[in-house]
Amino acid sequence: MSTVTHTSGRTRPDTEPPSGPPAGRRTRGAGNGLGGRFFNGFSHLFLAVWAIMVVYPLLWVVMSALKTDSEVIRKPLSLIPEALQWDNFARAWTAGIDSFFLNTLLVLVFSVSLTMLLGSMAAYALARYEFRGNRLIYWMFLSGLTLPIYLAAVPLFKGVYNTGVSLPLLGPNKHLMLILVYVAWSLSFTIFFMHSFFRTLPDSIAEAAQVDGASHTRTFFSVMLPMAKPGLISIGIFNVLGQWNQWYLPTLLMQSVAGEPKHQVIAQGLIELSVNQGYKSDWSGLFAGVTMAMLPVLIVYVVFQRQVQSGLTAGVSK
């Protein structure tokens, strides 16, 4: 655009210098003119409709969580509660959500950090060292991406159950077991992602570190891992969301075997509340539970939206 006006200005420098640039802009504007404005209006209309379709249900859940039960039934559609019923949250919180949160946090703190540590260690060894069996191990990890989890369900439960007989901490319904299972099942994608990341790092820096006398392990932890930070952030966000949202593995494995209370995580707990209709007569409580599961993630997302968006899309397009 700027080059166009520039040349036209230079060919006729004296005759009509001031009208050159505006004329150019006017022709371009006419191309977009009425049709363009109509199109922009249509764009905004459609985008706004979709935005409402996304936000309205979420808002409706949050607002219903603040209504009384009778109001949920009487005026289900209204977005403005007659009086804010904060005690719905207190009730849902003590009815189980508190322990769901606690269990989820307890598991996730360890499972995510362990996934990242073991995943990047394995990816690094596989990406930068040649040894016999390298390809085999890499493909073994990769094949986990295509196999459906349901295939492994029955033997996995049986394996965990049998382990629990001799090692109680690794049996069903144990946090440590769930942490290890999450790590194992997250390794495939983490290694796949970090492998391609470590490949792109230049050799010269690692070599320089080794010339300076750093061991392989030290080169990894103090040189290569810091350089892989952008990749670690992406895959970290991916794993946090993925494990926070995981429901199948906990539903399968966090079953009470000996009649002790279940250590449910949040997604599993919500499913059970809703499927078993434990809240059958307590709709506002169910809404409050869903709100509490949803708001922390949404708030974290809005605060870090740029990182989350680029992290997750990078995870897919690698």
Binding site: M1, V4, F39, N40, S43, F46, L47, W50, V54, P57, W60, V61, V72, P76, L77, G119, M121, A122, A125, L126, F131, I137, G144, T146, L147, P148, Y150, L151, A152, A153, V154, L156, K158, G159, L180, V181, V183, A184, W185, S188, H216, F220, N245, A267, I271, S274, W283, F287, V290, V297, L298, Y301, V302, Q305, V308, Q309, S310, L312, T313, S317
Partner: protein, 313 residues
């Protein structure tokens, strides 16, 4: 130095490989083994039955249903999600003024992107429980409530949503309602993906197109869309995996997890049904192996179709 390398590699790989072998590979291998037996799951007795379970697969009415339902999702989930995501990305980016050649978002595109991405960070479970309330079959549900209020739906005869096995266009209505949720939750993510891809297209390509007299529709269909090919095929593969795994929605939202009357069975729910309700673990494993083979063939096929030279810029 060399034996140092061996020790280092072993040290770094031992734990991840051990965990992976124990919790992922070993169960898969066992499942393949069980699929050749008539193991019921609760007793210790199991007999080797060869390929009987696999033969039985082909005459199982439920499997045939589940297969076609999976195929339905495999076609519709990527198709509708990508179409909507592209359309939104198009409006968001190309709808903006073009007077400076190149792609610039419409006013407020940043906010739209934040909002459209919301469902992606929500757990599938939260989404399912939320939609369960939206889809309620009485006036308390969001959709039925609205439609009854404006008089489009009779209060005594509301929409049954996921409890509706009646076919619509040859496919049980319940599947269409599940599809709507999948598209609702996926479109925003792929819109952001496509938007990013659109914005990485260099501006001089657009300058050239505009100089050649291409309008914004022409530019989109002749320039932008072909250059997005890579992102679209990646999206197709990922959505294919999601379509094969609609189980969370079926599990939470349909009556008796695959109902009503088996109208929404998919592979995963049939496996679950056979393993835990009918107590036929061996057979359930055979179904799962069949699903795994199906998935791998599909992935290979998709990679084959979508492979093409990359355009670098």
């Amino acid at each position: 130095m060399r034996h140092g390398v061996a020790r280092f590699v072993t040290g770094f790989l031992a734990l991840p490989v051990a965990l992976y072998l124990f919790y992922v590979v070993w169960p898969f291998a066992q499942a393949a083994g069980y699929s050749l037996t008539d193991w019921g799951g609760y007793s210790d007795s199991q007999n080797f039955v060869g390929l009987d379970n696999y033969v039985r697969l082909f005459s199982d009415e439920l499997i045939r249903k589940a297969f076609w339902h999976n195929v339905f999702f495999l076609v519709t989930v990527p198709l509708f999600t990508i179409a909507l995501a592209l359309f939104l990305a198009f409006l968001l980016n190309v709808g903006g003024r073009e007077d400076r050649a190149g792609i610039r978002g419409v006013f407020g595109s940043g906010i739209y992107k934040v909002i459209f991405f919301f469902p992606q960070v929500l757990s599938l479970v939260v989404i399912a429980v939320m939609w369960q309330q939206i889809y309620r079959t009485d006036g308390q549900g969001l959709i039925n409530g609205l439609l009854i209020k404006i008089g489009l739906v009779d209060a005594d005869n509301p929409i049954a949503f996921t409890a509706d096995p009646e076919p619509f266009l040859g496919v049980p209505a319940v599947l269409w309602w599940l599809l709507l949720i999948a598209v609702w939750s996926g479109a925003g993510f792929y819109m952001v993906l496509f938007s990013a891809a659109m914005q990485s297209i260099p501006k001089d390509i657009y300058e050239a197109a505009i100089l050649d007299g291409a309008g914004r529709f022409h530019t989109f269909f002749r320039v932008t869309l072909p250059l997005l090919r890579d992102s679209i095929s990646v999206a197709w593969v990922y959505l294919g995996f999601i379509a094969l795994d609609m189980y969370a929605l079926v599990f939470v939202m349909t009556p008796s997890q695959g109902g009503p009357n088996h109208a929404s069975e998919i592979f995963a729910s049939v496996i679950q049904f056979n393993a835990f309700q009918k107590g036929q673990f061996g057979y359930a494993c055979a179904i799962a192996v069949a699903l795994a083979i199906f998935t791998i063939l599909l992935a290979a096929l998709q990679l084959r179709i979508t492979r093409r030279e990359r355009i670098e810029f």
